[in-house]
């Protein structure tokens, strides 16, 4: 006990200097003289192997890049030719919209499933569990193949009493539209993952928050909307960003439906004609990389926005701290002490 404590005091002493007398520990031990301790002058520990490994890796990378640049199979001129090809940029657009629609659907269904799983009703709970079990337990590729042939299983939708003549019969036009089929297939699969993310976020908010909100006479809906969800967002946003990025790449699997107007599908289509698969793979990859990079930047800013008030990230609009600093100086009762009950991470 005495050993680590005196270590800590060595560090703490200079900072506390000046408000001596308020530090209860200062009176104990060898450090009660006011002179600041001497700074440590020492030769830092060397890490020669770090440098060796770094040099090897950089050299290896350089050799690979130089080699790839002049290897004809990569077809760099073709990459340049097709990267801004109209067909490719239109297909990139399709991929982007597939991602957006599928994620919106997934978030809405996922939120619903999360609330069902947290509800006290055992039937709702079990149905949500069953849904997640099925959609997380089977490959998304297989699911997409299934949605692709669902219009053969259900050629028409009917409304009426089962096993009697239906009142209304409408042809299945939803699953014959391959773009809509792709969105539905991707959204239903992703919803299972989103619901777990949302559920974790909702559960991360301290029970006391909902309790305080209830005690203030707010309804369940108001409590969720104004108290629980805004705090859960901090937990929900980062993995959701990952899911968006992951979804962007998963859209390439819509070939299973088969939908071939997306970025990967069109690249493959072109290369099937020109017999230049490698350059078109590179073209598609570059577009995917562009999108994921933009998404990563966006995610960074959204995360910053939702960590307001946690005490870790200080937002720009916070003049309160310097403005009130005089009243909260050390020694005064109003001093903001770092206490354990503030922002919980």
């Amino acid at each position: 006990m005495s050993e680590p404590e005196s270590d800590r005091m060595l560090e703490a002493e200079p900072g506390r200097h000046g408000e001596s007398g308020r530090t209860p520990r200062a009176g104990r031990g060898r450090h009660d003289d006011d002179a600041p301790p001497e700074a440590i002058v020492a030769i830092p520990l060397r890490h020669p192997w770090r440098n060796v490994v770094a040099v090897i890796l950089v050299l290896g990378l350089a050799v690979f890049v130089l080699d790839a640049a002049q290897r004809p199979d990569y077809g760099w001129p073709d990459v340049g030719k097709y990267i801004f090809d109209r067909r490719i940029s239109q297909a990139a657009w399709v991929t982007l919209w597939l991602t957006i629609y599928a994620m919106i659907g997934a978030i809405v269904i996922g939120l619903l499933l999360a609330i069902m799983r947290l509800s006290p009703n055992p039937v709702l709970k079990s149905i949500a569990w069953l849904y997640i079990w099925i959609f997380r337990g089977t490959p998304v590729y297989v699911q997409l193949v299934f949605w692709g042939i669902v219009s053969l299983i259900y050629p028409v939708f009917t409304l009426g009493i089962p096993f009697t003549d239906p009142w209304v019969t409408i042809p299945n036009e939803i699953f014959t539209n391959l773009f809509i089929t792709a969105v539905i297939g991707l959204a239903l699969n992703e919803a299972a993952y989103m619901s777990e993310i949302v559920r974790a976020g909702l559960l991360s908010v301290d029970e006391g928050q909902a309790e305080a909100s209830t005690a203030l006479a707010m309804s369940w809906g108001q409590t969720m909307r104004f108290v629980v969800v805004p705090q859960a967002m901090k937990i929900i946003i980062p993995p959701t960003g990952n899911e968006v990025i992951s979804m962007l790449k998963t859209t390439s699997l819509v070939a299973a439906i088969p939908l071939s107007i997306d970025l990967y599908g069109v690249s493959r289509g072109i290369s099937a004609v020109t017999f230049t698969p490698v350059p078109l793979l590179l073209v598609a990859s570059l577009w995917y990389l562009l999108f994921t990079s933009v998404l990563m930047v966006g995610q960074h800013f959204i995360e910053k926005r939702f960590s307001r008030g946690t005490g870790r990230v200080r937002t720009g609009k916070e003049p309160a701290t310097p403005a009130t600093a005089p009243t909260a100086g050390p020694g005064e009762p109003g001093a903001p002490l770092g206490n354990d009950f503030g922002g919980k991470g």
Partner: protein, 255 residues
């Protein structure tokens, strides 16, 4: 009506499964009275407090606030559980302050205070903010309105929490060990706000371990143990001359 008790508990009982937490609590709190509840942990003090604003359901007996049955409606000789909306409406009259403050960390002090008045009572933002500033002034934090809870000390957070409860203009204030989570040097500032509130005529039920506060401010002191009221009366009498062995044993440990 003026002489009717603010809180009337008749043989209130509450179970968590087979665990009987409250075994018939009977007591009365008059308007303007300050009642302090003391007792060892696990004695059911907090549970009783939470029953008063229906955060917990009462299982037996009768509990009413300002003449209204809490959580139920009586029709003939049958009791009907209140809808969530009706229960929320009852809670408007009852303010609650928690041991762990439970301020909303994503909102500033002012936003914490204005949220419920704006959303529940539909008060305009301007009016609610003006009232919030008034209340912050009252608890001595007029200059900290823009601060987030994480940038306030424990004592300041608890004072904001009191202001937040007061913003709903409650008739009754419940305090659940309001100073237990505070550093010792911050306890005083919270107790001062509570004393001022008591002086202003607020009806208060305070679960506390602060015997000094109870002696000075309470009109009635209740000692609870194992889900029953062991002893109740003027604080000076109970603190200086406890009648029951359990009270004596408890007081000898905390005084």
């Amino acid at each position: 009506m003026t002489d009717a008790p603010m809180v009337l508990a008749e043989r209130v009982s509450k179970n968590f499964g087979t665990n009987k937490v409250l075994r018939g609590i009977s007591l009365e709190v008059d308007p303007g009275e300050v009642l302090c509840i003391v007792g060892p942990s696990g004695s059911g003090k907090s549970t009783f407090l939470r029953c008063i604003n229906h955060l917990e359901r009462v299982d037996g007996g009768r509990l009413s606030v300002d003449g209204q049955l809490v959580g139920y409606r009586q029709k003939g000789d049958k009791l009907y559980e209140l809808k969530l909306k009706e229960a929320a409406f009852q809670r408007q009259e009852i303010g609650m302050v928690f041991q762990r403050f439970n301020l909303f960390p994503h909102l500033t002090a002012v936003e914490n205070i204005t949220l419920a008045p704006m959303r529940v009572k539909g008060i305009s933002k301007a009016k609610a903010t003006a009232r919030a500033m008034e209340l912050l002034e009252r608890v001595g934090l007029g200059d900290r309105g823009d601060a987030y809870p994480a940038h306030l000390s424990g004592g300041q957070q608890q004072r904001v929490a009191i202001a937040r409860a007061l913003a709903m203009d409650p008739k009754l204030m419940l305090f659940d060990e309001p100073t237990s989570a505070l550093d010792p040097e911050l306890v005083g500032e919270v107790l001062d706000v509570m004393k001022e509130l008591a002086k202003s005529g607020m009806t208060m039920i305070v679960v506390t371990h602060e015997m000094g506060f109870a002696r000075e401010v309470a009109d009635t002191l209740v000692f609870m143990d194992e889900g029953v009221v062991v002893e109740a009366g003027p604080p000076r009498e109970i603190l200086s001359n406890p009648q029951h062995d359990r009270t004596k044993a408890f007081l000898s440990k905390v005084l």
